[in-house]
C-alpha cells in the first residue's frame, strides 16, 4: 500500500466508497457518495461543522470477541447492503488505538540541488526514512503523513513543485503489530474489498477537528471498556494512547487517564480544553470524573481545563464521529 497520496494535485475523487471502522467494541460499515450534496451536521457543544459526503447507508455490529472479527465485519457489511443497492469495493479502513504506537518526527536536511523542484518521490523517501528510524521492533508502519513542511524557514502547505535549500518535514507515523495488519488484509480480501487507505480512527477524528479550528485539546474517545486519548497541540497530533478501562469501570478510570497523560507531561504548553466523544452513553459520567480530577496538582497546570462533551449528530450518523471523520479521508 502506498503511504503517500497526500500532495497529488489531481487526486482522483471517488464517487461511492465504503468506510469500515473497526473499533474495540463494534464494527461500523458506511457507504458514502461524493457526487450527491453534502450534509452539514453540527456538534451540540462545539458549533464545529463536519461536512461529510452524502451517507447512503450504514450498518453496525457489536464485537463479542476478537476472534469473531471477520464474521462481525461481514454482518456489518450485510446490514449496510440492505439499504444500499450497489456496495462499492473501495474501502477506507479505520482502526483502533489498541497496540498502536505513534511517533512524530522532524526530518531536517540540506538538499544537494536547491534549484530542483521537490517531487513526491523525495517526500516519500523522507517519510519512509522517518518511519524506519522510529519503528518499534515488533510493529510495522501502516500510516504516515506529513503534518508540516518548512522550506528555507517558510511554512508551506504543499512542498511539491517548490524549490529550496533546507527542508524540514514533520511526519506523523503509526505502527501496529504485523500480525494484526495481516489479519485486516485477510478480512478485506475475503470480503472482496479494495483497500484505499488504513488510518487510526482517532487520528482521522483529530485531523477533522483541527481543520475546523481546534488547535489545542485533549480528545478522549470513551467506550464501555476502552478509552483512547489524543493529544493535540498547535494544530498537530502529538500522540495517541489508549487504555483498557471505559465508562463501565469508573472506579479506576482516572488512574488509567493519569498514566497515559503522564507520557505527555513534558510537552509544553498543555492544551486548555478536554473534549469527550465516543459511542457509549457514559460520556456525562466521564465528564463528572474529569471535573473532579486534580489537573492542576498532577500536571502542574495554571488552571483547570475546560471539559466538554461533543455530541455528534449527522444524517444517519448518531455519535459516529469516527465514521464521519474517516469519510473525509477520501
Amino acid at each position: 500500500m502506498s503511504l503517500l497520496n497526500i500532495f497529488s494535485s489531481n487526486k482522483e475523487k471517488l464517487d461511492k466508497f465504503l468506510v469500515l471502522e473497526i473499533g474495540l467494541e463494534k464494527v461500523t460499515a458506511a457507504v458514502f457518495d461524493h457526487s450527491q450534496p453534502n450534509t452539514t451536521p453540527q456538534t451540540s457543544e462545539e458549533n464545529v461543522s463536519i461536512k461529510t459526503p452524502k451517507l447512503l447507508g450504514i450498518g453496525r455490529k457489536n464485537i463479542p470477541a476478537v476472534m469473531d472479527l471477520p464474521s462481525v465485519t461481514e454482518e456489518a457489511i450485510e446490514a449496510v447492503s440492505a439499504t444500499v443497492k450497489e456496495l462499492p469495493q473501495t474501502t477506507v479502513l479505520g482502526v483502533s488505538a489498541e497496540e498502536l504506537e505513534t511517533s512524530t518526527t522532524i526530518v531536517r536536511y540540506q538538499r544537494a540541488d536547491a534549484s530542483s523542484k521537490i517531487d513526491s518521490n523525495e517526500i516519500e523517501q523522507i517519510i519512509e526514512h522517518s518511519g524506519k528510524e522510529k519503528s518499534p521492533t515488533d510493529k510495522k508502519l501502516f500510516f504516515a503523513t506529513v503534518t508540516s513542511t518548512l522550506i528555507d524557514g517558510t511554512l508551506v502547505s504543499n512542498p511539491i513543485g517548490l524549490t529550496g535549500q533546507s527542508l524540514e518535514v514533520s511526519c506523523f507515523n503509526a505502527f501496529k503489530p504485523e500480525q494484526e495488519l495481516a489479519f485486516y488484509s485477510k478480512v478485506l480480501n475475503d470480503l472482496d474489498l479494495k483497500l484505499l487507505k488504513i488510518i487510526p480512527t482517532s487520528y482521522a477524528v483529530a485531523r477533522s477537528l483541527i481543520k475546523n479550528g481546534i488547535k489545542d485539546a485533549i480528545l478522549i474517545c470513551v467506550g464501555l471498556e476502552h478509552t483512547e486519548v489524543i493529544f493535540v497541540s498547535n494544530a498537530h497530533v502529538v500522540g495517541i494512547k489508549s487504555f483498557d478501562l471505559g465508562s463501565k469501570t469508573l472506579d479506576f478510570w482516572s488512574s488509567g487517564l493519569e498514566v497515559v497523560l503522564e507520557e505527555f507531561k513534558e510537552h509544553q504548553p498543555w492544551p486548555d480544553a478536554v473534549k469527550i466523544y465516543g459511542e457509549s452513553e457514559g460520556q456525562e459520567k466521564i465528564k463528572s470524573e474529569l471535573l473532579t480530577f486534580p489537573w492542576m496538582k498532577k500536571f502542574e497546570l495554571d488552571h483547570f481545563p475546560k471539559i466538554e462533551v461533543m455530541h455528534y449528530q449527522g444524517e444517519g450518523l448518531e455519535n459516529d464521529l469516527g465514521v464521519a471523520a474517516l469519510s473525509l479521508e477520501v
Binding site: E98, S242, F243, L245, T249, E258, V260, L291, M296, H303
Partner: protein, 512 residues
C-alpha cells in the same frame, strides 16, 4: 504477601477488581506470559497506580517487572538532587538547628552599672564612660535597627465547576455528600386592575305575528312541531325565516262540487286552516313583514301546504352594544400578573439574608386567585380583575456553598499554595428543573491562590544575618516573583545585618 495469578484472557478490569476484593495490603501479581492485557504497556502502570489509590502495594512477577523496567535506576548515583535545585539552601542547611546568633539571643545581654567608688578617679571614670558608651552602642545596635522585607507574589486565579445537590430536607451542609441546604421562600401580592371592554355584539328582539297555515291535501292532515320553520316566499323579505311558537295540526282540505243551471260542474277545494303564532328566527327589522305575505312551511310543497299572515308582523329590532371580549380579560391578566410578579419578586429578595441567593431555575409563579367582575360576552363598558399572585423559590447560602466547594478543591491545590479566603466567590444554578425537595446544581467557584509562605519562619531565617546571606535566602524562596529589603539604619559592613530582634523585621506580601 498474597499471590494473585491470572491467565491469558484476563482483562485489566478483572485484575483491578481482584486487587480491590482481597483484604491483603501487599500483593504479588502474576499474569500469563502472552496475556492480552500485557499488550498495552500502560496497563501495568495503571495497576500500580490504582493499587496505590487503594492503599495497597503490588509486586509483579519477574516477567512483568521487566515490562515496566522496574529495576532501572531512577537517578544518577552521586547526584544530590537537593543541592542541584537550591544551591542557596545548601549554604543554610535547613536540617541544622544551630544558629550561633540565635544562641546569643537566647542567652540575652546582661549588663549592669558598676559600683561607683566614693572617691572618683579619672581613669576609672573614663573606663566607666567607655563601658557605658560601648554598652549603649551594643544595645542600640541590637534593639534599634528595623527592616521591612517586601515579598512580591503573583496570585494564581482559578475557576472550577462542580456538580452538587441541594435539598430542603437538609439543615446543615453535608460536605461528604456534596450537598447544601435549600430554604423555600415565597411572597404573595394582591391587586386589582380595570380595562375598557373592546368586544362588540348585536342584540335586539325577534319580530312576532300570526299566520294561517293552509292544508290543501284532502286525504291526510298535516302536523308541525314547535319550532318548525316557515320561510317567506317572494317579495323583498324573500327567504326570511320564522319558527312556530307551538306545535299544530292542520285538518285535511274539503272538496265540494256545484252544478250550475247549464249543468256545468265546478269543483272547489277548501283548505283545512289553523291560525298559529310565529317568531322570527333572527333579531331585527327584517322580520317585520307586511300583511298577506305568503310562507312555505317546513319542507312542504307550496301546492300542498302554505301559510299567510292577515296582519303585518311587528316587534323586530336590533342594535350593537359593547361587551367584554376574551382578549380583554387576557390582557388584564398579563398586565396585572406582570406587575404583581415584579412586586412579589422584590419582596422575596427582602426576605433573604445577606448571604442567601435565590437559585435560578427554581422560581415558580402562579395565580392563586383570579376573579373577574364580568363574564366574557357580558354587556359592559369596562371589566375589572382582582388577582392574587404567588412567587415561590428556593435559596441557598453562599457560605454553605463555599464550604462544599472549598472541600472539593482543597485536594487540587498545588503544593506551596493556599486559597485566598477573601477572594473566593461562588455561584450556582439548577442544572435541571426539579419540583421536588432536591435539586441538582451546577456550581462554580472563582478564586485566587496565594503562595504559602510562613512569615514567622522567614523572619527566623533572616534574623541577624548579613544582607548578602539574606539575598541568597530570599532568592531561594519558591513562589515569589521578587523581593525588597529596606534596612534602617544603614551601617557599614560587617555591622550591616538584618535586625537581631524578630519583632523588628516586618514581612509584607504584595501582589504583582
Amino acid at each position: 504477601m498474597r499471590n494473585l495469578e491470572f491467565g491469558l484472557e484476563v482483562t485489566l478490569t478483572q485484575i483491578l477488581e481482584s486487587i480491590k476484593a482481597v483484604p491483603e495490603k501487599e500483593l504479588q501479581i502474576s499474569v500469563a506470559k502472552d496475556a492480552v492485557v500485557l499488550k498495552n504497556p500502560a496497563n501495568l502502570k495503571i495497576l500500580e497506580k490504582a493499587a496505590s489509590s487503594l492503599g495497597k502495594t503490588i509486586h509483579f512477577s519477574d516477567n512483568l517487572a521487566s515490562s515496566l523496567n522496574l529495576n532501572a535506576p531512577e537517578f544518577v548515583e552521586g547526584e544530590d538532587i537537593f543541592e542541584s535545585h537550591s544551591p542557596a539552601a545548601a549554604n543554610n542547611p535547613e536540617s541544622s538547628n544551630f544558629n550561633p546568633k540565635l544562641q546569643e539571643k537566647k542567652k540575652g545581654l546582661k549588663f549592669g552599672l558598676p559600683k561607683l567608688s566614693l572617691k572618683p578617679s579619672l581613669p576609672l571614670a573614663v573606663a566607666f564612660l567607655l563601658v557605658l558608651i560601648f554598652a549603649g552602642g551594643t544595645a542600640a545596635y541590637w534593639y534599634l535597627p528595623n527592616a521591612k522585607v517586601v515579598l512580591y507574589v503573583t496570585p494564581k486565579s482559578f475557576t472550577k465547576d462542580a456538580s452538587l445537590s441541594a435539598s430542603t430536607r437538609l439543615s446543615v451542609v453535608d460536605t461528604e455528600e456534596r450537598a447544601v441546604p435549600l430554604t423555600e421562600v415565597s411572597s404573595t401580592e394582591t391587586g386589582t386592575l380595570s380595562a375598557q371592554s373592546t368586544g362588540k355584539k348585536t342584540i335586539g328582539d325577534h319580530a312576532k305575528g300570526a299566520v294561517t297555515i293552509r292544508n290543501y291535501n284532502t286525504i291526510s292532515p298535516k302536523s308541525f312541531d314547535k319550532g318548525a320553520l316557515l320561510k317567506v316566499v317572494g317579495g323583498t323579505n324573500d327567504g326570511t325565516k320564522f319558527s312556530l311558537d307551538n306545535a299544530v295540526t292542520i285538518p285535511t282540505a274539503s272538496e265540494s262540487a256545484t252544478t250550475d243551471a247549464e249543468g256545468n260542474i265546478s269543483r272547489l277545494t277548501v283548505p283545512g286552516k289553523v291560525e298559529v303564532s310565529v317568531s322570527a328566527v333572527e333579531i331585527g327589522k327584517g322580520g317585520n313583514v307586511d300583511e298577506n305575505t305568503r310562507f312555505s312551511v317546513g319542507d312542504q310543497n307550496l301546492a300542498n301546504v302554505d301559510a299567510v299572515n292577515k296582519a303585518a308582523f311587528s316587534g323586530g329590532s336590533s342594535r350593537e352594544v359593547t361587551v367584554v371580549a376574551s382578549s380583554d380579560r387576557k390582557k388584564l391578566l398579563e398586565t396585572l400578573s406582570k406587575q404583581l410578579s415584579e412586586k412579589a419578586r422584590g419582596n422575596l429578595k427582602s426576605k433573604l439574608s445577606n448571604d442567601q441567593v435565590i437559585l435560578e431555575g427554581t422560581i415558580k409563579e402562579s395565580a392563586s386567585k383570579e376573579t373577574y367582575n364580568k363574564d366574557i360576552e357580558a354587556e359592559a363598558s369596562e371589566v375589572n380583575l382582582n388577582l392574587t399572585w404567588t412567587v415561590v423559590a428556593k435559596a441557598y447560602s453562599k457560605d454553605d456553598l463555599k464550604k462544599v466547594m472549598q472541600t472539593s478543591i482543597e485536594k487540587d491545590i498545588p503544593d506551596g499554595y493556599e486559597i485566598d479566603p477573601g477572594k473566593l466567590d461562588v455561584s450556582a444554578e439548577a442544572s435541571k428543573d426539579s419540583d421536588g425537595d432536591t435539586v441538582d446544581l451546577l456550581s462554580r467557584v472563582d478564586g485566587m491562590l496565594l503562595p504559602k509562605i510562613d512569615s514567622a519562619r522567614v523572619t527566623g531565617k533572616l534574623q541577624g544575618i548579613s544582607l548578602s546571606s539574606a539575598n541568597d535566602y530570599l532568592k531561594s524562596l519558591d513562589n515569589i516573583e521578587g523581593y525588597e529589603v529596606r534596612l534602617w539604619p544603614t551601617l557599614p559592613s560587617p555591622l550591616n545585618t538584618l535586625p537581631h530582634v524578630a519583632g523588628n523585621i516586618k514581612i509584607e506580601f504584595v501582589s504583582k
